[in-house]
């Protein structure tokens, strides 16, 4: 008889606090239940409070791996992008969140891990191995990410340049990147407001982009980031960067 193949949890042996922050975190039964509850609640909230409309819903992939990217204007963005995704992907859909905002203190990290299912990326001193880890997990598991290549919320309403980190996740792979444009988030919940206002949100989902032939190096990553940014701008009717 052949031996069975066991695959222990990839975050095995970490104390709870470290597990929240781990890029290899996997959810158990409690996590799954909380993710489903949280995201069902958010779906209802977005529909009622922000009358969220999704244009191009057919472009949302039904299976992992994929990455959703969009312009970043508010904390509502991640909710509006992840909520329309299928419920059965809940455990494998990871919003990529700023480590310094969402994973520094334990209660917030617990919320980010248990409700949002977010994974941290540290904006200052970002370890390149973290991006490698994310790239590996994307294909191996496979899983899906929601991320904002601008790296931070716009303070003015203007879209910023896309950082090339996104390119390092997908260069030379068949993983689709789905460009989206979220309209209305800056008006609803700009960074200087404490609470969101009931403004209408419209999410436009574009056709998936793939980069199998782009080299997995700095030039390739920059090229990918540029292409994705141009597509997001086009979807939002934002003039191209000059």
């Amino acid at each position: 008889m052949e031996d069975w193949k066991f695959d222990p949890a990839h975050d095995l042996g970490l104390p709870l606090k470290e597990r929240f922050k781990s890029l290899r975190r996997e959810s158990g039964l409690i996590g799954t239940i909380l993710h489903v509850l949280w995201w069902s609640f958010i779906r209802g909230y977005l529909r009622i409070y922000h009358r969220l409309t999704v244009v191009g819903r057919e472009n949302l992939p039904k299976e992992a791996p994929f990455i959703l990217v969009a312009n970043h204007a508010s904390h509502l963005d991640v909710l509006a992008l992840a909520a329309p995704c299928p419920t059965r992907l809940r455990d494998r859909l990871f919003p990529i969140a700023a480590g310094d905002t969402f994973f520094e203190n334990v209660p917030v990290a617990a919320f980010a891990a248990l409700a949002l299912n977010a994974l941290p990326l540290w904006r200052k001193n970002c370890d390149p191995r973290d991006l490698e880890e994310l790239r590996k997990r994307l294909v191996e598991e496979p899983c899906a990410y929601v991320l904002f290549p601008e790296g931070t919320r716009t303070r003015t309403g203007e879209m910023a340049i896309f950082k090339r980190g996104i390119g390092s996740l997908v260069a030379s792979t068949l993983v689709p990147v789905v460009p989206c444009y979220l309209n209305g988030a800056f008006e609803a919940f700009p960074s200087h407001h404490k609470f969101p206002r009931p403004r209408k949100l419209t999410l436009t989902v574009g056709a998936p982009l793939r980069f199998p032939t782009v080299a997995n190096d700095k030039d390739g990553w920059t090229e990918i980031a540029g292409k994705i940014e141009a597509e997001v701008r086009r979807l939002g009717g934002v003039p191209p960067r000059t």
């Binding site: 066991f6 095995l12 996997e26 039964l29 799954t32």
Partner: protein, 331 residues
């Protein structure tokens, strides 16, 4: 009567054996801390053994009240405590084996654990024993649903073993709480298996030379196991004599056999977990308890001992035969 048994903390020390064991454990912990302190101070034991000794003993000082407290407080607390322990054990097992990725099987095992706790609480022996085959049936059925026959046997087998060990088996401790006099019996079992481990650890360190199962657990020695057997058996037999005085069990040979049963099943439980960890290629099941690893690393020895002792004592004396049954579901 039912209320008194379930939450009557004022009865905690009705039985003299309960007083002895509780006082004994308290005293033993204080003495152990003093001995280790003096050994460290005089430099008789050296690092890393000294550090390990400290860590383990301090963990005991926290764990002992957590284990004994619910037993003293009442049957309801005992049953709830066992259920929490079962879930913690299952969580560690599922994460270590990868079974946690099978959400349906996991959900059924958790449901089974909750049901078996309920059956014990309700004092409904029929449901208590029925839950094993019933849970197995449901696990076998839900494991079909993902329509992925590759790995079917593995996920069903892991689910069944998990429910057997952490649901059915551990819940025998809960069911004991249906006896009016459950406190000394449960404490005897807890004390027996845990001291058994301590005896094995100490006699192994002092006398151990020949490995018993080097491929499974390189640190376990024949001397450790014999030492534990020799020390645990009379201890359990003596305590049992005072608990079961005047019953059919209160005969020297039956009492000694009970002691042997506790020691051997305790040690087998320990080696069983070693085998599981070896098979999985991991060192500890978790990180909950400093110096001990996970919850499962600590309660492993009770997993096999609980049903063994339950049915052995049940054969001679029975549990809660004079207590009302099906207190919630009954007519």
């Amino acid at each position: 009567m039912i209320r008194e048994r379930l939450i009557g903390a004022s009865h905690a020390f009705d039985h003299p054996v309960t007083v002895w064991i509780t006082a004994g454990i308290g005293a033993a912990l204080v003495v152990a801390l003093l001995i280790i302190a003096s050994l460290s101070a005089t430099g008789v034991v050296k690092d890393p053994f000294r550090k390990e000794l400290w860590k383990r003993t301090l963990a005991w000082a926290v764990m002992a009240p957590l284990l004994i407290g619910p037993v003293l407080l009442g049957a309801a607390w005992t049953i709830a405590g066992v259920a929490v322990l079962s879930l913690a054990c299952y969580s560690e097992f599922a994460r270590a084996t990868g079974l946690f990725r099978e959400k349906l099987v996991s959900a059924v095992v958790v449901l089974g654990i909750l049901c078996v706790g309920f059956a014990a609480f309700d004092h409904w022996y029929g449901f208590f024993v029925a839950l094993f085959p019933l849970t197995v049936i449901v696990i076998a059925a839900v494991a079909i649903l993902p329509d992925n026959p590759k790995g079917y046997l593995q996920r069903v087998a892991l689910g069944v073993l998990a429910f057997m060990l952490f649901g059915s088996s551990l819940a025998h401790v809960s069911y004991m709480a249906n006896d009016w006099n459950y406190r000394p019996i449960v404490l005897m079992l807890l004390l027996g298996v845990q001291l058994n481990d301590v005896f094995a650890f100490i006699s192994g360190k002092l006398l151990g030379r020949r490995k018993i199962v080097p491929h499974t657990s390189p640190n376990k020695t024949v001397a450790g196991h014999l030492g534990a057997l020799v020390l645990t058996t009379p201890l359990v037999a003596t305590i049992a004599h005072f608990i079961f005085r005047g019953t059919d069990l209160d005969r020297p040979h039956w009492l000694i056999l009970l002691g042997v049963l506790v020691s051997v099943s305790g040690q087998m439980g320990d080696l069983m977990l070693s085998s599981i960890k070896r098979d999985l290629g991991i060192k500890d099941m978790g990180v909950m308890i400093p110096g001990h690893g996970g919850v499962l690393d600590r309660v492993n020895s009770i997993l096999l001992a609980a049903p063994a002792v339950f049915h052995y004592v049940g054969f001679f004396v029975g549990f809660g035969l004079d207590q009302p049954t099906r207190i919630l579901t009954g007519p």
